[in-house]
């Protein structure tokens, strides 16, 4: 029997009619390095949770078939026993942590299993050494970077000596450098520990170097991929059509936003230093940089949420400090990272029209716009549903409609592509490009070098709170490579596809 043996497994969520996983059968040998990819919402995370025994804690779970890991049927054991066989690292390590320090977090599972304190210390050191994070011991979790948190999340699971380690999009919040580092750590770990590693991931290109066994899971069905180039060539191309604007924008010579010598300090820590940049009409700009370089702070400073310690910001020719956020909203649309944080009303229709209603511009034209946006974004038949009942991708689309309905001249977008599959990522980049071609400007925080190269006009690259590069895409990528930020540069500038 294989190390992992899944036989005719199907699963339906409680209260649903359609199964999310259908008749899945696969075999994985011990020590394999496996990647499961596929479109967003296709059932990848559900399958990961099924392998880890998370879905079978109800009295009568709605499932068929068996999942055998090292001889143990994962559908039959309580959750507190499951992690000793299969450990599951969640997408966001923040969701997984239940203590405040690195050592306490790694010790947590061992303490629950009544391991002796001396042995716990030894296992903490061992787990941290495996993820090359011994220097993190003694640190508080709140002080760690995204990549460091991911290492601790992995170490806390490794300490339990599982047979299989599953990671659900472990690098979705990480910059390319940190992403590559995590993948390399996992690969080395699997080699040295004889551990079976399963990664649920969209970032295939970065993983191909490690020669993984790849499966694609779409619409609840799983298939092995033998030829990755063939698979990439057949990825469906989605589109999100941008309804035509009812208003024509005139050519504007004044920069939409102008930052001169801007420095920002948060809770007495300096975050941004001497930022000088302009955003003008008709630009699609990528804001890039390593995790913690100040991208989100810069975006929020542009919206007036942080007052600069030094320097000046003007928006559409006026001093930003004298403008209220409510008056900026007409001209600037802002989208935050997490879709759940920006859904406030009781129905999809109310959500789509909320901004226009607040701005007192909800005319008949606007309502017709809302109808056409909802239809083109495939939400037309869900107008009366509660926004929180939508899927992740649908919420993202609704966020965008809610901000775009009155056609703000400038869009500031923070990490819109997180959790999106490749087809969706391309579709969104094309959508933003079309919006720019209508005479608007888009500034998008983006970690995908290839998508930036393919769709954007300009790159602003932040490093340690300073603008390191502000250039046309081609020149910026050349400079990034020369400055040693090679993971931010696509390997092939022609048609390199990866989300």
């Amino acid at each position: 029997m294989s190390w992992i043996d899944v036989r005719h497994f199907s699963y339906t969520y409680p209260g649903k009619q359609e199964p999310v996983l259908r008749d899945i059968s696969l075999a994985i040998e011990r020590g394999s390095f496996v990647v499961i990819t596929g479109e967003s919402g296709g059932g990848k995370s559900t399958f990961g949770k099924a392998l880890a025994g998370f879905l079978f804690q109800d009295e009568k779970p709605n499932c068929e078939g068996r999942i055998i890991v090292n001889g143990v049927d994962m559908t039959q054991i309580p959750l507190y026993d499951a992690s000793q066989h299969v450990a599951y690292v969640q997408q966001n390590p923040e969701d997984q942590f239940c203590t405040l320090s690195v050592s306490d977090e790694i010790a947590f599972g061992l303490e629950n299993l009544r391991v002796e304190p001396k042995e716990i210390e030894h296992l903490i050191d061992k787990s941290l050494a495996v993820v090359k994070g011994l220097d993190l011991k003694g640190r508080q979790l709140a002080t760690l970077s995204g990549g460091e948190k991911q290492k601790v999340a992995i170490a806390s699971m490794l300490a339990l000596s599982p047979d299989v380690l599953i990671l659900d999009e472990p690098t979705s919040n990480l910059d390319p450098d940190a992403t590559l580092h995590v993948f390399k750590t996992l690969y080395d770990m699997r080699q040295n520990q004889d551990l079976t590693v399963i990664i649920i991931e969209h970032k295939l290109d970065l993983l191909l170097a490690f020669n993984p066994q790849i499966f694609v899971l779409e619409s609840g069905e799983i298939q092995p991929i033998h030829d990755i180039q063939d698979f990439k060539a057949h990825i469906s191309r989605k589109t999100y059509a941008l309804p035509k604007a009812n208003t024509e924008h005139t050519i504007q010579k004044v920069p939409f936003l102008k930052l001169s010598g801007v420095s920002v300090r948060l809770e007495s820590y300096p975050i941004l230093h001497d930022i000088n940049l302009n955003l003008s009409q008709g630009e699609f700009v990528a804001l890039m940089g390593p995790n913690g370089s100040g991208k989100s702070t810069l975006l929020q400073t542009m919206m007036g949420f942080y007052t600069p310690e030094n320097g000046k910001i003007s928006a559409f020719g006026e001093d930003l400090s004298k403008l209220k956020t409510s008056s900026l909203v007409r001209e600037i649309g802002f989208i935050f990272q997490n879709p759940d944080h920006q859904l406030f009303t009781q129905s999809v229709w109310d959500e789509a029209t909320l901004t226009s209603k607040n701005l007192d511009i909800l005319t008949q034209d606007q309502k017709e716009n809302a109808e056409s946006y909802l239809t083109s974004m495939r939400l037309g038949d869900r107008k009366d549903e509660h926004p929180q009942r939508l899927s992740y991708g649908e919420k993202r689309r609704l966020n965008l409609i809610a901000v775009l309905l009155h056609h703000p001249k400038l869009l500031l977008i923070d990490e819109f592509l997180i959790g999106q599959d490749m087809a969706n990522a391309h579709a969104w980049m094309k959508f933003f490009q079309d919006y720019v071609q209508q005479g608007h400007t888009v500034l998008l925080v983006n970690h995908h070098p290839d998508l930036t190269n393919q769709y954007c006009d300009r790159i602003i690259f932040l490093s340690e709170g300073r603008v390191l590069i502000d250039q046309h895409v081609d020149k910026a990528l050349d400079q990034l490579g020369a400055l040693g930020f090679s993971s931010f540069v696509p390997e092939n500038k022609e048609g390199f596809t990866n989300a």
């Binding site: 010790a107 007495s268 956020t325 759940d340 944080h341 920006q342 859904l343 607040n358």
Partner: protein, 258 residues
């Protein structure tokens, strides 16, 4: 401004066992109410404020401290204005502005107690790692399921605070205005604020349950603890000194000493 939270350090207070500190926090708070003599209370309050200054000289930068001092000053001023018992000490010939011994003593008593509690709380929070306290309480018998309620609350509180700030900003960028409209509108805005925050909190709790149970939480009725920290001779010494000092204060307060 910095948040009021644990600040690592090596002072005697940092080195005390958290449970010892917690017990003395309770004892000191009770003492502040036992002391009735204005002068003794002022000495006690001054010592608490001095200790706070010594362990964190930049105490002015901690959020809320200036407001606490201002509140104390306003309270004292109100007692001077409205308590006219006792002898007149200052008489500017306007009755409301006259200052009496009764106003001074009552003002000092109330403000002294208020500032003592504030200073003690700040000292405790600045020198105690919250999880250490929870682990300490679990070791002396608190069921670990309840102890971890405290640990996870400490873990989630700053995350939810940040999420609350993001949701508020997300409301503003959708043209929502808290400064316009009546109570009905305000109630609607609060509801619109609370909905995503509550949903996010529930989602986090759900994921945390999987994370904790997935690592054996609840498998056994008891568990081991990595931290082997126990009370030391320092705890004993500090406890003896404080006991003697408080005994003298109480005896002085009730006139038992010459």
């Amino acid at each position: 401004m910095r948040k009021l939270s644990f600040q690592p350090g090596q002072t005697i207070l940092h080195r005390l066992y958290p449970v010892t500190k917690f017990i003395w926090l309770l004892v000191c708070s009770v003492l502040a109410f036992i002391l009735t003599e204005g002068a003794l209370l002022i000495i006690f309050t001054s010592l608490c404020l001095l200790t706070l200054h010594l362990i964190y000289p930049k105490i002015w930068q901690i959020r809320g401290f200036r407001l606490a001092l201002l509140t104390g000053a306003v309270l004292f001023f109100l007692y001077l204005l409205f308590d006219k018992t006792g002898w007149v000490v200052v008489d500017p010939k306007v009755e409301l502005l006259s200052i009496t011994t009764g106003g001074l003593v009552m003002g000092a008593r109330v403000v002294g107690r208020f500032l003592t509690i504030i200073a003690l709380s700040y000292i405790f929070i600045l020198t105690t790692e919250p999880s250490e306290l929870a682990y300490g309480l679990m070791k002396i018998g608190m069921p670990y399921r309840y102890g971890f309620m405290l640990v996870t609350a400490l873990r989630l509180a700053p995350i939810l605070e940040e999420e609350g700030k993001t949701i508020y900003k997300a409301q503003l960028v959708r043209g929502i205005r808290y400064d316009k409209g009546g109570i009905k509108k305000w109630v609607l805005l609060v509801q619109q604020f609370m909905t995503p925050l509550l949903i996010s909190a529930l989602r986090r709790a759900d994921k945390l349950v999987f994370s904790m149970e997935g690592r054996g939480f609840g498998k056994y009725p008891n568990r081991t603890f990595r931290s082997q920290r126990t009370p030391s001779s320092l705890d004993l010494t500090v406890s003896i000194v404080l006991t003697l000092f408080f005994a003298i204060l109480i005896l002085l307060n009730y006139g038992e000493l010459p």
